[in-house]
Subunit: 257 residues, 2 copies
């Protein structure tokens, strides 16, 4: 019931317990998320060169990793923990553009204008590898597979956002929420965690904002899905009890626009 939950609370990684050690260098070779941020077939020498340019860094819950408007210098690979990214429009409208977990790359939106285009905030105590982008570019010339992998990653980011547009533009509240849960489920599964039992790292408000719904709607959906016994929720703890049913709901074609 709790297997996927311990993510941040294993003794080694709790911030107030961890001894303050020099964290540099990062050592991809020892990272469980290697293979996600870095191509899988990377040889030792390449891995070492990569290690050399990265700095490991802790980010406390609620801390801002980078801000919209800030000049862009680094990419960040999440080693541990969860983040959210959000945009703020000139008039203060806010939109969460994504939730990211270990193995994902943050900051790619900043390349286009040498300036970050969103905020990245840690949803829990986390660890990232800070990668100076100019140094990464030099490595690209030396390690073609690394470049390839980077292109794939950026492209996947585009694809992911396009899917979100579909979700926001076409789906009803129920479908959006079911999709959201299924999405999380798949991500945890891909990382070796339970696909049916995990913790929501984000508040109801974050979920609502992300899905284009109010916090009240999210709450009602949680209650409804629970009453129908598709899921079980307690605070941020969630179990999916009827995955096939959720899939049905998510796919349910709208009478549509």
């Amino acid at each position: 019931m709790m297997q996927a939950v311990q993510f941040t609370s294993s003794p080694v990684t709790r911030f107030h317990e961890a001894p303050v050690l020099p964290l540099r260098p990062s050592r991809c070779s020892g990272c469980s998320m290697r293979g996600l941020c870095v191509p899988s077939g990377l040889d030792d020498s390449a891995m070492q060169r990569l290690d050399r340019i990265m700095t490991r860094r802790r980010v406390a819950r609620g801390e801002v990793l980078f801000r919209m408007g800030e000049s862009f210098t680094n990419l960040y690979a999440i080693r541990l923990g969860h983040f959210k990214t959000h945009q703020v429009s000139s008039e203060g409208m806010e939109q969460i553009t994504g939730f990211q977990m270990a193995g994902e790359l943050l900051g790619m939106d900043g390349i286009g204008a040498d300036r970050h285009n969103c905020f990245a905030v840690a949803l829990e105590d986390s660890e990232v590898c800070e990668i100076p982008f100019d140094q990464l570019e030099e490595l690209f010339a030396e390690i073609p597979t690394l470049l390839r992998h980077f292109h794939r990653t950026m492209s996947q980011e585009i694809t992911r956002e396009q899917s979100n547009m579909l979700l926001l533009g076409n789906m009803h509240a129920e479908q959006r929420f079911a999709s959201f849960l299924l999405n999380l489920s798949a991500l945890y599964k891909a990382r070796g965690y339970s696909s049916t039992s995990f913790q929501l790292r984000m508040s109801r408000e974050d979920i609502g904002n992300y899905l284009g719904l109010t916090i009240e709607s999210v709450s009602r959906l949680l209650s409804k899905f629970k009453k129908l016994e598709w899921i079980n929720v307690d605070k941020r703890e969630i179990q999916i009890s009827d995955l096939p049913q959720l899939k049905l709901v998510a796919m349910q074609p709208t009478t549509s626009h």
Copy 2:
């Protein structure tokens, strides 16, 4: 009143008038959109190498440039004309993820999975430069500025889509539509066309789908904006008469979720 409209109907480019000539090679040097798909400071030799791998290709109105699911081999730079890209979910929900015009790059979504992830359809008779991606990758190694530019382009694509998420997740119909018009306005301005008078290349249905609205809502908004004398519309011809007012409407903070 018609300055921006002639886009496709100059004698040289009308399909049924143009003599069937060998179109290869593309010759970036003679392309007015050079500087958008390609970095501005590119020397002649680099430009030639680029020319050598590209094929110019015509795409008739309504023709599909690539399909979702199709294997990915080429990127496409739009030389002339307009396109739309759309996703179709497994259950047939459709979402237009973008409209693209001359100087923009199509197909970047395909890199991540070696498979196109959306459809690209010409909104009018158009011309593209077909760029085999594997050959482009080889050029990246030789022309670092080209690689840089490519990264910027992908990043901007990410940024654009994040903005669309904000639009779909946070804005009301009026704001969405005003933003849409302002967006087009800026794009035409950046290309040297009138920012206040242009042609909508897409149907009302396309606009509605893109903005997450029904066709009826789009039509009502057009009528409303016209009555308020913010714009003037006739069929697909549109003039913006009160740009500042549109900006106000687009920025109007919602009481918000």
